[in-house]
Amino acid sequence: MNAPARTLSGADGLKRLSVATPDQPLRLDSGRTLENVEIAYETWGELNADKSNVVIVCHALTGDQFAASPNPVTGRPAWWDLVVGPGLPVDTDRFFVICSNVLGGCMGSTGPASRKPDGTYWGTDFPVITIADMVRAQIALLGRLGIENVFLAIGGSIGGMQVLEWTVQARDRVFAAIPIAVAARQSAQNIGFYETGRQAIMADPNWRNGNYLAEGVRPERGLAVARMAAHITYVSESALKRKFDRRLQDRTTKTFGFDADFQIESYLRHQGQTFVDRFDANSYLYITRAMDYFDIAAEHGGMLGNAFKGLHTRFCVFSFSTDWHYAPEENRQIVRALNAAGCETSYVNIETDKGHDAFFVEEPEFWAGLRGFIDAAAGARGLPKRSAT
């Protein structure tokens, strides 16, 4: 692989490429520009001779570029090694898979936790970004890697928003697209949930108007509460009932206090605590804001179908029956728009009680659908078949 741009290998060992410089700044939807942008990324598999086997994996809100191998910084396991890997639906034996940390993220890409050219932290001086800005940075990253066309763009939740944006922004440079558990516009309900989380962060006295990194503190309490509230929306009521119901945590009777009496409380507190160890509070503000602003139809005269008109990309949309974060009906609206635009479209609603986060966990029907769609697309693209196992 010939990468003309400089690769900065920081002490953290993350792969990074510069995608914007003072000569070629990144122009943002807000009207502002970023003059220095680095995008951290990870790859698996080999780029083939005609560069036709590139898969872009887009990560979700709190994810990172380590889709298929452990994160060396946090030590956490790969977040999607059930789907991306040798012989898996996104087959690294055949495809060259790229996953990058989003613009505004905190795993090596430029964001509010990065330093400005003058050495101070961006904090809330960082410009508000959009999903389209994130994809602009990803397209620039591919350019630096010498890659023009994408065989497949795949991702769930905000990753699915990026997939939709990829197909619209890069037009017919994307051969196939799999948006999973997503919407073409952020609902009022979701804006409300994320605003609650942002307010929790900003109400933490350690947030210091976004300046906490310079002051050597972290708004951990606020960020943990934000994560707890959001996490409830990622799982279904039926799964919470099955896993916890009203069972008590390590005790036989209620304590008549505010300790974590219930298992669900203990579980959410744990989710919040482990999250603050690996995520930047300001990144959480910026990325959730980008989700709030997402509305593809609004940018195309209010007609979602217009956004996809004339695309030759083949789509397969997946939703999960108990997802109330991005409910099946929101996914169906994307499918109807794709059909109205005349795009080659498949849509599967997977019956599961695992809610929004079903795409991260064991879900054989989902995997079978992914395999079928991806293998058929690979055949149509002239890529090799899966090797017999």
Binding site: V335, Y347, F373, A376, A380
Partner: protein, 207 residues
């Protein structure tokens, strides 16, 4: 070109439908089940296919086979398709199970240049004889009562011709599932002799 596998079992009505599909036609199969007809049309006729299916198991099987299928139902999802989006739309043994057959036929004849319907013919002489001798509507292919959910609408070749007329469609060709195609004038004989029929419908007024 998408690779397609040779279908295993060939349903007789699928084979009868396939003779009306031309190479390269873009075909919408409404109620495509697990995609048998789509596979046959791709493999035998070189058609490009899209499917619409309401049941998840069928949709999953189709997508796992690499077929482009959308989970949805004809009543809700057809209006979003643009005019003349397809060369052919197919209702194989589906039209008698629809809540709104006229609406669906109107929509399909809007989005496709030709509509092919296959259906059970309740005008067949055995059905007529059975009604005459037993005093009951024979329940062709159904082992449940006429009142059950999704019970089929019993209609004859002439009844279907009436619907086509109402929808502004002409019968361009008609065939018994196990017979040779005839033109619309032989409808009376088909109505006596065919247990299952395939009608090829086209708009009378060309756009």
């Amino acid at each position: 070109m998408t690779e397609t596998r040779a279908p295993g079992i060939r349903r007789a009505d699928h084979v009868a439908i396939s003779q009306f599909i031309n190479h390269g036609d873009l075909v919408l199969d409404v109620g495509c089940g697990d995609g048998q007809l789509m596979e046959l049309l791709q493999h035998d006729r070189g058609a490009r296919t899209r499917g619409l299916e309401v049941e998840q198991t069928g949709v999953n099987r189709c997508v796992a086979k690499g077929l482009a299928v959308v989970q949805g139902n004809a009543d809700d999802d057809l209006p979003v398709y643009p005019d003349d989006a397809f060369d052919v739309a197919i209702l194989s043994k589906t039209i008698q199970e629809l809540a709104r057959p006229k609406f669906v036929l109107d929509e399909l004849s809007r989005i496709a240049r030709r509509v092919i319907v296959s259906f059970r013919n309740y005008g067949h002489w055995r059905v007529r004889t059975a009604l005459l001798t037993t005093g009951r509507i024979p329940n062709l292919g159904h082992d449940v009562g006429w009142w059950s959910d999704g019970a089929r609408r019993p209609c004859t070749a002439r009844d279907m011709a009436e619907l086509a007329e109402q929808a502004g469609l002409a019968i361009a060709a008609a065939t018994a599932v196990s017979g040779k195609p005839v033109n619309g004038r032989s409808l009376g004989r088909l109505n006596w002799t065919a247990e299952e029929l395939v009608f090829v419908l086209e708009r009378k007024v060309k756009r």
